[in-house]
Amino acid sequence: MEPIKEPSCLVLLSSSPHIHSGHTIPAAMRDVIIALIPAILAAYYYFRLSAISVILACVISAIIFEAICQKLMGKPITTYDCSAAVTGLLLALCLPPSFPVSLAIMGSFFAIVIGKMVFGGLGCNVFNPAHLGRAILLASYPQQMTTWVLPVTAMNSVNATTSATATADAVSSATPLVSMRIAEHLWQAGQQVTTQIPSLWNLFIGNVGGSLGETCVPALLVGGLFLIWRGHVDWRIPFFYLATVALITGIYGGMRGYDSIFPLYHLLAGGLMIGSFFMATDWVTSPITKRGRIIYAIGLGVLTALIRLRGSYVEGVCYSILMMNMVTPLIDKYVCNTSFGGGAKK
């Protein structure tokens, strides 16, 4: 009978499973950046160097702010995980072109420090940091945040300069949603709307005024579908968000006898595309169950439509996402899965 031997080699002991899919947070964040490349290219195409300076300022300052915070908090510096870069990038894409760089850096400060690090860093934040930064900028600098510049590609076109332009600046423009408000008044008065609003095609390809990254719908769709394909984003959030907005605006427009392009316009205009694919789907601030995500997305759609249709502010995506972020813990608490076989749940 052999005695029980002492282990002859040093081996790792751990509880199963002993293998891993290889999914990591940095890889997912890199995929988000890859998914945003078409939108960045579109921003460069439409707004040229003013786009690049704002994007660079936001991304670099976001990374630096996160590193400083982590240093001060005595935590390991994890800027390599690219989450700060993603926040900076998303913030930049939600800012108007020709936005002052100094204010963009301030936005990044709010996004990273107030939006994320004060809660404890990645995974602990309540609000989508990029949208929180944007909301604070909008409240603090409403003038700069609502000064829209026409894309360089549209400047030569006489048609594009609408009569609705409120400011004296020659290259300033109304966003399509502002034009829509004017069109609504005309429809209600029974008048024809012809040149007052940009065409659907221009709206689709992004040849209109708006934030840097939100105008070019094909670029955002490509990026969003890439994220869904890679499994980082649950299709339910963008699908139910967009469907709810289309449904409510469709019914609203139909009841008031608006043109049939009204719901399409709401889908394509403003921050809805970037918001539904990139902002609302933020892992940290969206619910973890599939049913919860559907409720969350429908809530987003209702709030966005309400703000857009009945609010004094024409754009509702940013605020509706921030509001639904607040509801997420509640959804997670009450919308629980029932275990396979039906165990009792809280």
Binding site: V11, P17, S339, G342, G343
Partner: protein
């Protein structure tokens, strides 16, 4: 076979990594000089030894009888002399008393082992023999098989027997080889199970990554009106009992319930082979097929090993030893197996595989846990529809009531959540810990650990 592949909801896709051994025919591992037969190589009460120190035993002779209803007999896997009783650790961390037998090299078969007449075989005899011949679940859980054929009174009549030939664990191919090399005994075993339970239907479930086994078995059951081969999609954990029952019959086993609650019994294909031998030839369970694989093994393969053989003997004598410094030794598959610290463990009835990895493999690292980013992947993949990250937060905060309310007891510990987690949180490991604290009852009320603060 043309019907859509049966499967369950959620779950994950894992690279199967079976190519190392799936083409290797079963080879006999030479019998060792000593075997160490743990009295607790099954779930339930330990077996009671019936031999004394110095007793001569023959191969197949009973050396310990069942220590209760949920228990099973143990038989000598070699002939020789009982030279001692030794306490040894099993791979799962439990300690068990082992009967040690010194091999006389003769393999003298016990006299009572002779083929049984067909006419003698009755349902009662099968149920009795299952316990007496030491038949337990050989898929890894080692649940005594005869208990499954004595379902509680309140359960519906058993109408379907499912043979589990899924083998969804990466690297492990022992069941695959059993399907290919002992198909007739599998079908015979299934017929005995159907006879014992009165079930009218038998299903042999095979994952679609084993087309050769599917073709062979489909061909063989063509003439059997009550038996069919079910092709299941390749997905983990397809071989889990609840998921397999759902995939095969569409029935959902209720929470804390047994398959018998929906009229089904699930047995591993290797168990069916052992049953066929036990009933037909009166041969007790004394050997099993074990996959020896991993990048460190010189000759990966599937070996027929006597129970009680030490891992080290199988690796050296059958698999030609290993190369490099070992980084990880896994008893079982990489998803649910146990990492062990040496090769000094005996092969037991549930040992399907021993995997050896050296420092050149991905098994040499344990990733560092990061903060949960609430991506919800663990929720998306959980085949039990639990919310692993929520449960783990409860466990970390020692909120045992909340963890119990979140159905921590329903976790089958398949590891899908931890496999998928981008933050490398050892989710299932925390859940396992939480289950132990709560005491397995799910109420968390009376456990002495319940009040321990960090």
């Amino acid at each position: 076979m043309s019907s859509p592949k049966a499967t369950f909801l959620d779950g994950i896709h894992i690279p199967p990594n079976k190519s190392l051994t799936e083409g290797q025919a079963i080879l006999k591992c030479p019998a060792p000089d000593f075997v160490y037969l743990p009295l607790s190589m099954h779930i339930g009460a330990p077996a009671q030894p019936v031999v004394k120190l110095g007793d001569k035993v023959k191969m197949g002779q009973v050396i310990a009888t069942a220590g209760g209803f949920v228990s099973s007999s143990i038989h000598a896997s070699i002939s020789g002399m009982v030279t001692g009783f030794q306490k040894r650790y099993l791979p799962n961390g439990m300690m068990s008393n082992c009967i040690v037998i010194k091999n006389d090299g003769l393999d003298t078969l016990s006299e009572d082992i002779k083929p049984r007449e067909e006419s003698e075989i009755t349902p009662d005899l099968i149920r009795k023999q299952l316990q007496e011949k030491g038949i337990v679940g050989m898929g890894g859980a080692t649940f005594p098989t005869h208990v499954k054929y004595a379902p509680p009174k309140d359960c519906p009549a058993i109408d379907t027997i499912i043979l589990n030939g899924i083998e969804c664990e990466p690297y492990v191919t022992s069941d695959h080889r059993v399907l290919l090399e002992y198909p007739l005994e599998i079908i015979q075993g299934l017929k005995y199970f159907m006879l014992a339970s009165g079930a009218k239907k038998g299903v042999i479930a095979i994952e679609d990554n084993k087309p050769d086994a599917i073709a062979l078995l489909t061909n063989l059951v063509e003439k059997e009106p009550n038996i069919e081969v079910l092709v299941c999609a390749e997905k983990y954990p397809q071989g889990s009992e609840k998921q397999l029952v759902y995939a095969s019959t569409g029935r959902t086993i209720p929470d804390r319930g047994l398959p018998a609650a929906v009229g089904v019994v699930v047995d591993n294909v290797a168990t069916a082979v052992a049953t066929s031998r036990a009933i037909k030839e009166n041969m007790p369970l004394i050997e099993r097929v074990v996959t020896i694989s991993g990048n460190a093994v010189n000759k990966p393969g599937n070996y027929l090993v006597r129970l009680g053989t030490l891992y080290s003997h199988v690796v050296e004598k059958a698999a030609d030893g290993y190369k490099g410094d070992l980084a990880r030794i896994i008893s079982g598959g990489p998803m649910m197996g146990f990492a062990v610290n040496s090769l000094d463990f005996p092969i037991i009835k549930g040992s399907g595989a021993v995997l050896l990895f050296n420092h050149e493999s991905g098994f040499a690292h344990v990733p560092v846990e990061e903060t949960c980013v609430r991506c919800g992947h663990c929720v998306d993949v959980c085949p039990m529809f639990l919310e692993p990250t929520v449960i783990v937060q409860d466990v970390k905060k020692r909120n045992w009531d909340d963890a119990a309310n979140a159905s921590i007891h329903a976790c089958i510990e398949c590891g899908s959540c931890a496999f998928q987690c981008p933050a490398h949180i050892p989710l299932v490991q925390y859940i396992r810990m939480g289950k132990q604290f709560i005491g397995g009852k799910g109420d968390g009320g009376h456990n002495p650990f319940y009040v321990i603060k960090k």
